[in-house]
Symmetry: C2
Subunit: 524 residues, 2 copies
Amino acid sequence: MEFQKNQMIKFKHNSKLLEKAQQAKPELKFEKIVPQRTVEIVPDHEELFGYRVAPLSHRITELNQMAFGKGERVILDLGDHHVGNFQIKIDSVGSPMDASLWLHVVFAELPVELGTIHEDYHGLLSSSWLAEEYLHLDVLPSLLKMPRRYACRYIMLEVLDTSPKWKAVFNEPLFTAESAVSLDQVSKLNSGDSVLDRIDQVSCKTLHDCMQDVFEDGPKRDRRLWLGDLRLQALSNYATFDNQQLVKRCLYLFGGLTTEDGQISANIFTQREPIPDDTFLYDYSLFFVSTLADYFERYHDLTVLKDLFPIAQQQLDLALQLMNQDGQIELNSKWPVFIDWSQEFDKAACAQAVTIYVVKQFLELAKEMNVEVKSYQKILNKLTNFAIEKLYDQQRGLFMSGAEKEFSIASQVWMALAKVLPPAENHALMETTQKELFPISGIATPYMYHHVCAALFETQHSAAALDLIKSYWGSMIEYGADTFWEAFQPENPTFSPYQSMAINSYCHAWSCTPAYLLRKYLKS
Amino acid sequence: MEFQKNQMIKFKHNSKLLEKAQQAKPELKFEKIVPQRTVEIVPDHEELFGYRVAPLSHRITELNQMAFGKGERVILDLGDHHVGNFQIKIDSVGSPMDASLWLHVVFAELPVELGTIHEDYHGLLSSSWLAEEYLHLDVLPSLLKMPRRYACRYIMLEVLDTSPKWKAVFNEPLFTAESAVSLDQVSKLNSGDSVLDRIDQVSCKTLHDCMQDVFEDGPKRDRRLWLGDLRLQALSNYATFDNQQLVKRCLYLFGGLTTEDGQISANIFTQREPIPDDTFLYDYSLFFVSTLADYFERYHDLTVLKDLFPIAQQQLDLALQLMNQDGQIELNSKWPVFIDWSQEFDKAACAQAVTIYVVKQFLELAKEMNVEVKSYQKILNKLTNFAIEKLYDQQRGLFMSGAEKEFSIASQVWMALAKVLPPAENHALMETTQKELFPISGIATPYMYHHVCAALFETQHSAAALDLIKSYWGSMIEYGADTFWEAFQPENPTFSPYQSMAINSYCHAWSCTPAYLLRKYLKS
């Protein structure tokens, strides 16, 4: 049976490495957030996702003057996105409570999640991720302390039933937000451009809300540690909160939980004892090398390097088993490459480029470790030669991918980042990419947009990179983002990888990289 | 506003009496119940309520061999009705849990409650009484301990969602049943008639499950202490469990919580600090006298009598304010009389008879207290004279009620119980009642059926009383009752006072009186 897949994959548990992960576990910081106002969510076809937020006239301090009977509801607005726990005092007015209170509580990052909560859900992900609870309160007054953690800006309290003889009254709502870091730690960008400054703020908030016990991909749903996300979060973290311990912890978690063959899972569940997932992604496994290299570059931490270098090498060796005699990476279905949520482009050239990108970082680490690198140098040449000779179309000045010889933006971007071509040609590659392949379409994630921007910056197209940051991340802000989203396709803004806007994550770490890109490239 | 009614009624809190109620609070007894089997609930139009229980072939010990994905469910059968708390171990099989478990748990006394749980609810009582919970479990394995108390025989575990990669597994379901008493304390009836013996057993079980911190009316819903129910529960208790403390506690609760005018509420909420309801019923208030008299007759407890006699007297005095110059009780809408859930008959004659019944018990108590009773004796005569002269139709040998001069069974029964007529004529009254008004129709509760049977026994119609017990309570058993019901109308068996079979209470204390009637009248 498909669902038993995992029980056939055996994992190692390296207790020495896992102990080091445990030691680096952060103490979370807590902040008390009082909702600022009550609002209504109104259907509005002119809004991106079909709903508008309409403030109500009374103040939040008047909440306890209102009584809620069967079918009545109130929506609290925290004023910003937060991650944490919620509590509220509930009392009754009227006759003594001659029935339980039957309460529906819904937490939403965006209005669309509240607007659609009473509709049937047909998304591809589990409906258990819809952030709603149904509760019976037998005795009032009570202090309702919700036991689960939520990611939200809006909280809807909907009275499903009382009795005709009494109503419910809410008072003292309180959200306790949590994170491993504090926004006070980050100095402002002060770019001189208010749009970029705002993008940077939202980026930092996004990263902040995803920095919990581990770098979570998104606090709304899985709360998992994904390697592809970790790599970008770590880069943004170095430029902002600079929390060394949390990156170290996550590296040790991945290093301590490989399969018996030494392969690193795409992600780890960390809510109780850490459990590696049975999902493996080619690029994500390789990014263990990359994340370790970035970490070492930032902190020169030889202890971590020595502990984890063999595991990094193992990822590369496993990947290189897919290289054929011509130097081509031949992917198979057991170990797909991610690159982006879009399935609209061929990803073979990307896989080739990512491998080159990672081998180069590996060679830097190997030098630090005094490891013999000749064989990897040879491999790098073979990989690069294949890319230039078989994938590069000299006439068009672009890389092609797959049997259909597709020229996708993603292929050019990853080849540019891997610096397969010499600097001048690399610059020209991204020049041609803009001329021939822009405006961008068919890319579904801020994750891939990050790599486009990074490639533009790395090839001295800073103005274009800044324009792209302003238009792409700026659009999300215009659409009402308090934190940046998991998926966003400007030409198709209601795209969901799961076929449901209600299940998308609207605070997703891999979208936080403007904080990194702007700090790295704007100031230089 | 209607729902603020209570805030205008001021209650006294007699702390001395309430302290005595607190001291008599029982220590509950707990019993561990392991479900005996798994079953299906199958729609079946030949069954009374439209559903049939179909046992599944596997054993309960095989439960942990089964895996439940989205939309799959299992129903556990406790084998009998119980009141208490539920726990179960839940684990996952397959890949690591990449989504929360979204679980629906439904508790049911009868199959109809499970069969209709997915239908829209349109009953008159709050939907918050439907015994269902929706739960998210973020981490498995977990021991799920449901925090609320339930009354049930069947427990449905319905997996609303997992993810395609894993399923839920249930193991070690455990129900911890609770009661103030143990069934072991009651000796068997051994009547020689297996139907009566079974009716007695089910009566004792019904009373047992309603004897908690107080005598509850029914453990499924309100769990309230109602005076009308208490009176009958106490009588059955004297004949079976003989728990003096619990009756004493309930008498002190009512006595300690009158209105400022001295009136006793129809019921008290006891889940936290006791709160009297703002519902007042004429007969229920008077039954404080009756319940105190029955208690004194059983235990000769002078302390309780001295503490509570003034409050008993107050109830009578308040009732007698409604007596006009002719000796007629004139009800008003602020203080209606209950008698039965049926609204199909006029209740004025019943109110007259209940008053006479209670005055007679009051006179007994007054003698014990050495209180001057002449005025009450005079009132009794006036009440009785009015009944005989104005309500009794000598030709028909029956009492009539109301402007329409109705001859209802309830009027005859209460006049017989009040012994308005001399013994021979009282015997004839119930003889005529049977001849002219039977077969019974239009009576909706075991509560009123109890009074019919009591009147038959008291007027030496024992055989008819036994036949009625066997046919009425026996029918409920044939329909699948593990405990006796709140409402049952044999000629209209799907009657619900709330227009929903799902919200009826199927373990209701006022239906437990065969245990009392059979022990009192069968053995004499």
